[in-house]
Symmetry: C2
Subunit: 371 residues, 2 copies
């Protein structure tokens, strides 16, 4: 062993891993671009023109650091959600906030509960802080509220992660079920309720915002319905003391300055948001119809993607994905046993959806002939 | 004690602190804006017009996540520094990279060496991961290479932090001295060589880039000379295995998409960088002349700010700062004993420097009469 600085035993034990390979990396490996970028749950309908204008207008100001209190955006979000600014923390996307949350509550070996096949970046952070991941299988392609609850109680989990609507399956629970789940949870278990896809869900899926419980963090983002994934701006809503603890660990100047201007403009343009949410809904129907026209079953979705059951095992779905990639269509797929029979296709502009439509048949045929 | 999720003992022990109060927060507290924003070591000359254009052009693409490998920007930086892309990691500003570095190498109680009065955000991260800060006093307003070396050896430090040029004093060491320091350092101590102000320093202050040593990380940023503090984009240069370890802990999708476009454009416009570096040099002279015209001593500076010795103790310098703020001039000051006799004034456009010039005299008089 060379004489070099020692990584901590924990960090030394971690793999040098990327939770997701980006489409750009795949394009470089393939030597040609995708014609349809439908794999990353981005929102091809993009941000409001008013947001684009606000970002453009803010470019000459980019020599200044951000306001570390993100004051104006927190005010606007507080107004939107009917809470106080003290109930909101803004971070570098939900990804950043997930890492900070795990760091606050999980020590080495502590049990953290999530669903088997749920968001890999959360798992990355759990491993990254040495906590112990306890996974609960999906049931009928939904996260199992009963299973998560049992595991949280049994393990005395410090954190339980639940996304509603769910990624990667697109399914959801109604607010009532979520509320029962919250009430049944031990008060010492922190619930991370990841609502990244909240805006594209039926209103009935979102419990009222209630910031009285110290053990619930609701996470939202500008990456999905607002069409600003590249901006890196997400936020958590919670009880004031729980929110305040982020001040102990967050990177105060970490949110880029443009995020505040863009976020404010995005919140103002409700008409654009409504149009996008409608367009996402139509596109989900379109994707489902494409799947069914090819004899495949599309799962119901409350998100900006549709998960399609390819009707056989995981190996087959992987071949479908690969055959689509061969045809320059970028999609992703769930990897967990049972879920892995599916591919996951994000919404997008019709030009890209049409390419997916045209290539799905040939891709399926090629995958079948290879079986 | 309420029934609520428990913070880890480490996090519970941390204060909910902001390393710096932002000027926006001060403006809100004061109820009126500053006329001269000269406290945050920003670069009022701003980014290249080509960079502003690149940022504007990238706004419609902001619905896409960034390339998590930051491939193109790493390529361009590798070319600039004559290293391989494997020798570079890009992060959310140097602040973000400092946190990741501490997390990789420092465990609870491990000694980490820095100078007493050096960058508070680094200290924030050291405390945040429970490591033990060992501080070495400045000598003649420079970080003490001998002192840092002694402390690193004596303590068997896992990390030693050195900024060159230095913040908050603006002073610097020549490359030769830095090289001797590196050679004398135990190979198991990681040196974070923070060169945020590298571009505004004399070339003689920067050792050649050498990525053969596993225990040296050079940190650079687009926040200072490139005028892009609000962008949140910094990078570290180092030996490939040391750089690769960041993959274990970094937030892979954390750099906003615009940073890549802006960074590439910034690296291309060398003429703008040269103009800015010259303008920064002139502005330093201007600030020094203003200080001397008021009977104060300006410290030599290789940065984008000038540290001015107010000639009395820390309480007096604080009054000068407060009197400047009363007159709508935002500056900051070092807080450590010995350094605290100074205020720190960032470069900026002449309109703001002129306001500082006009207000310094009255502020000094008011501070003196209050003594």
């Amino acid at each position: 062993m060379t004489d070099r600085p020692s990584l901590t035993p924990l960090v030394a034990s971690l793999p040098a891993t990327v939770p997701f390979v980006g489409p750009e990396a795949q394009e470089r490996a393939r030597g040609r671009p995708f014609r349809a970028r439908l794999g990353a749950n981005e929102n091809g309908f993009g941000p409001s023109p008013a947001v684009v204008e606000a970002m453009r207008a803010s470019t000459p100001e980019m020599w200044k650091y951000c306001d570390p209190e993100n004051h104006e955006l927190r005010q606007a979000l507080a107004e939107l959600h009917g809470v106080a600014p003290e109930n909101i923390v803004i971070g570098e996307g939900i990804d950043g906030l997930l890492g900070l949350t795990v760091r606050q509550y999980a020590q080495t070996g502590d049990p953290v509960v999530t669903s088997l096949g749920a968001y890999p970046t959360f798992n990355f952070h759990v491993s990254g802080f040495g906590a112990r991941l306890v996974t609960v299988p999906y049931e009928d392609d939904r996260e199992s509220l009963d299973g998560l609850l049992d595991a949280a109680r049994r393990e005395k989990a410090c954190i339980v992660y639940l996304s509603n609507p769910d990624n990667p399956m697109g399914t959801w629970w109604e607010a009532e079920d979520i509320l029962h789940f919250i009430e049944a949870l031990p008060p010492t278990t922190l619930l991370i309720l990841d609502e990244a896809y909240g805006e594209t869900a039926p209103a009935s899926a979102l419990p009222p915002i209630d910031v009285s419980r110290p053990n619930v963090l609701r996470m939202r983002t500008f990456s999905k319905a607002y069409g600003l994934a590249g901006l890196r701006c997400g936020y958590a809503i919670g009880e004031a003391e729980t929110i305040r603890a982020f001040e102990k660990v967050r990177n105060h100047f970490g949110v880029n300055r443009m995020a505040q201007a863009a976020g404010l403009a995005a919140l103002k343009d409700r008409a654009h948001l409504e149009r996008v949410v409608k367009a996402v809904g139509f596109c989900r129907q379109r994707l489902s119809a494409i799947a069914e026209a090819h004899g495949l079953k599309a799962l119901p979705s409350a998100t900006n993607f549709v998960t399609i059951d390819c009707g056989r095992d995981g190996a087959f779905a992987l071949r479908v994905l690969q055959e689509l990639a061969e045809r320059d269509v970028f999609v992703r797929k769930p990897m967990a046993p049972g879920l892995d029979r599916c591919i996951r296709v994000s919404v997008g502009l019709e030009a890209e959806i049409a390419i997916f439509e045209a290539e799905l048949g040939p891709a399926l045929a090629a995958a079948r002939s290879a079986s």
